[in-house]
């Protein structure tokens, strides 16, 4: 992508003001790319924030309006679901500490505008996991379709319970006790994250991570993971969080130190780098300087640029080049590599490839 112009969707996300004078052929491509990246509602929200919806040509405007009802329905469903979770967990006395999409939506952050997501994620103390799981089960959430190996995989090695689904509403919840797997080389202390968490003023009983931690979680989630089908959506989250929190005092001053403290300086480095390069995020020079120690060496960085700047583009034919498929595959391997030590990873992949597959028809 460095050789050619950036995809038109990225130009629009970077500068929604372009919407006022975009040629029709560009609209056609931009909306196709937005659909592929599941970002149409976010694009609608960005254009409305700039007050430019009225300026759009009729055809792309009518097309964008298709997602308005979906976004409204999604927002309503998330509120309802979070209320159900809060009611289920009330007997435990724990705050409902929301992560990612549900946190952005319930805290009224701009990153939550038009963001579609499937699961609700919460963070609870590891010592209270059993209690939380029982409380959710009493209210109809069950962990289904997991064999003994899956159970062990989640409960011993991962940072979350096996995903639970509500028997009647078919909605999903992921209960986390940390933000990285137990088997990962870096393990930010979840107690520190919980201690800094902030209540959502408008919604008693609900909480989110503090701004710095929210950004760091978003960064680690994107840049330590192996799947990038929602990569651009997650990068846009970071861009919007940087923009909104960056206007508050102390955010930029405390972010680098917090990243170092939680051993998350490298993912923050990547988050800032690609958010700036692809979406034009404004970042103070002092923050970039403070993260210089987390910068990979020149060769590795050139490689990561080649991988991330392909995998973070919309999954649309117009954004692919000859290396896109290989870049996504390399990052998939990297994502698994970062989750577990090599021997455990080999064992896990072996199990998934041969044993889980063989047993699949029985469990299904």
């Amino acid at each position: 992508m460095s050789a050619s112009a950036p995809p038109v969707l990225l130009r629009l996300l970077r500068d929604p003001g372009l919407a006022a004078a975009l040629p029709m052929a560009d609209w056609d491509l931009a909306l196709r790319q937005a659909t592929s990246a599941n970002l149409s509602p976010a694009l609608l929200a960005l254009i409305e924030e700039c007050g430019l919806l009225e300026a759009l040509p009729a055809a792309p405007r009518a097309h964008l309006e298709w997602v308005r009802a979906l976004a409204a329905r999604h927002r309503q469903a998330v509120r309802f679901e979070v209320e159900c979770i809060a009611a289920a967990l009330r007997p435990t006395g724990l705050p409902v500490l929301l992560l990612k999409g549900a946190a952005y939506a319930m805290a009224g952050l701009r990153a939550g505008e038009g963001r579609l997501f499937a699961d609700i994620d919460i963070l609870v103390p590891k010592a209270r996991l059993d209690e939380v799981e029982s409380a959710l089960m009493l209210h109809g959430w069950i962990a289904g379709g997991h064999d003994a190996y899956d159970q062990r995989y989640y409960r011993e090695w991962m940072h979350e319970l096996p995903p639970m689904q509500h028997v009647r509403r078919r909605t999903s919840i992921d209960v986390h006790h940390a933000i990285l797997p137990e088997t990962a080389p870096v393990r930010p202390d979840p107690a520190k994250l919980r201690a800094a968490a902030l209540p959502i003023e408008a919604a008693p009983g609900l909480a989110t991570l503090a701004p710095c931690d929210m950004v760091l979680h978003s960064a680690v989630h994107l840049f330590f993971d192996g799947e990038f089908d929602k990569g651009l959506r997650d990068l846009l989250d970071l861009h919007r969080l940087f923009g909104e929190f960056g206007a508050r005092p102390a955010f930029w001053d405390t972010l680098p130190a917090r990243a170092h403290e939680l051993q998350l300086a490298r993912p923050l480095f990547y988050a800032l780098r690609y958010s700036r390069r692809l979406l034009g995020t404004d970042v103070p020079a002092a923050v970039l300087d403070a993260l210089a120690p987390a910068r990979p060496n020149r060769r590795l960085l050139a490689l990561m640029d080649g991988l991330f700047e392909r995998a973070l583009l919309p999954m649309h034919a117009s954004c692919d080049d000859a290396l896109t498929g290989s870049a996504r595959f390399a990052l998939y391997l990297r994502g698994n590599w970062l989750r577990m030590p090599p021997l455990l990873l080999a064992r896990h992949l072996f199990h998934k490839a041969f044993i889980s597959k063989k047993n699949a028809p029985e469990t299904a």
């Binding site: 056609d28 055809a59 309006e65 298709w66 308005r68 329905r73 309503q76 649309h316 034919a317």
Partner: protein, 319 residues
């Protein structure tokens, strides 16, 4: 506010060219190259294909539709392609995609044109959530529309095909689009899909019926598409007010009967036939409630098309 109807009207006046202005070879060149962009009601579709049956069907049934240019905006970019592999040489197949997304299993190549029609319906019903969309035929007379919701096999398309050749305007054979802002129905007048025996029934009933070549052994049996009346295509920009909801049921030998349905029951039966009722949330509820209030709803049994035409001709405007 700019509405989809005025948008359609504007595009219609701007685009004087129709698909019929292309020669067969120009049509094939567009389909194989930049895509043939065509407007059907509120939607613009760009179709790419090198399969001859696709060009045949479009040439026969889409001549009257507005033709769009290579640079124009399209809501749907669809392709009908031959998948790779051995099937290229042995029992060739066709695969439908919406801008790279392949929602269905490939079908035998002979099914290419029906697959285009089904694919375009799928595009609208899974994407265009600016409307409450009901699986129903819609026909209009004197500004008042009848919505005919029905599961497959009820004789809905046969009835619709007969009505639009006996004085009613075709809005759609498959999709009732109710606009939440004003409760009006928007037309998507596309070819009417006829199955099995209804192909011969309509051939006999409509003197000048133009039908695509029947394709046998599809999942719906033998299928042929009936050309939409030119007058209905020309009025694709004119919305209509819902006045009647009629649940048709063809039963061999049955006496013609029309019975009113209480509103609450009609509401749930229409909701059952909606594609996106739950996606639309509160707006879906309000839109459907508005339509139910504006309409009289009936169960309709028939076996004789002439008698059915008489019943529809006698429908009275609701109060």
């Amino acid at each position: 506010m700019l509405t989809a109807a005025s948008l359609t009207a504007a595009s219609l006046t701007a685009a004087s060219l129709t698909v019929a202005s292309l020669s067969r070879s120009q049509l094939a060149t567009r389909l194989a190259g930049p895509g043939l962009a065509v407007r059907t009601g509120p939607f613009a579709s760009r179709i790419r294909s090198t399969i001859p049956q696709v060009a045949d069907g479009i040439e026969l049934l889409y001549g009257a539709y507005p033709l769009l240019g290579d640079e124009d905006f399209a809501d749907f970019h669809v392709g009908l392609r031959r998948p790779g592999g051995l099937h290229r040489w042995y029992k060739p197949q066709v695969s439908f995609d919406l801008d790279g997304l392949v929602p269905f299993e490939p079908l035998p190549e002979a099914h290419a044109f029906p697959m285009l029609e089904w694919g375009l319906n799928w595009c609208i019903s899974t994407r265009a959530h600016a409307y409450l969309m009901i699986h129903a035929a819609v026909v209009e007379r004197d500004g008042l529309a009848a919505i005919l919701p029905a599961p497959p096999g009820s004789g809905k398309s046969t009835l619709c095909a007969a009505l639009v050749h006996r004085g009613w305007r075709l809005l759609s054979d498959e999709l009732a689009l109710l606009r939440p802002q004003d409760g009006l129905l928007l037309p998507v007048p596309r070819p009417v899909s006829l199955k099995n025996r209804s192909i011969d029934v309509i051939r006999a009933y409509v003197a000048d019926a133009v039908l695509s070549a029947p394709v046998s052994n599809t999942t719906k049996g033998t299928v042929a598409h009936l050309k939409a009346p030119a007058a209905s295509v020309a009025r694709a920009g004119e919305s209509a007010r819902p006045a009647w909801i009629v649940f048709p049921k063809y039963e061999a030998g049955a006496a013609t009967s029309l019975e009113t349905i209480p509103r609450a029951r009609a509401f749930f039966r229409v909701a059952d036939n909606a594609f996106n009722y739950s996606h639309m949330g509160a707006s879906g509820f309000a839109t459907l409630a508005g339509a139910i209030d504006a309409c009289t709803s009936y169960d309709f049994r028939y076996s004789d098309l002439d008698e059915a035409m008489a019943v529809f001709a006698a429908l009275e405007a609701p109060q």
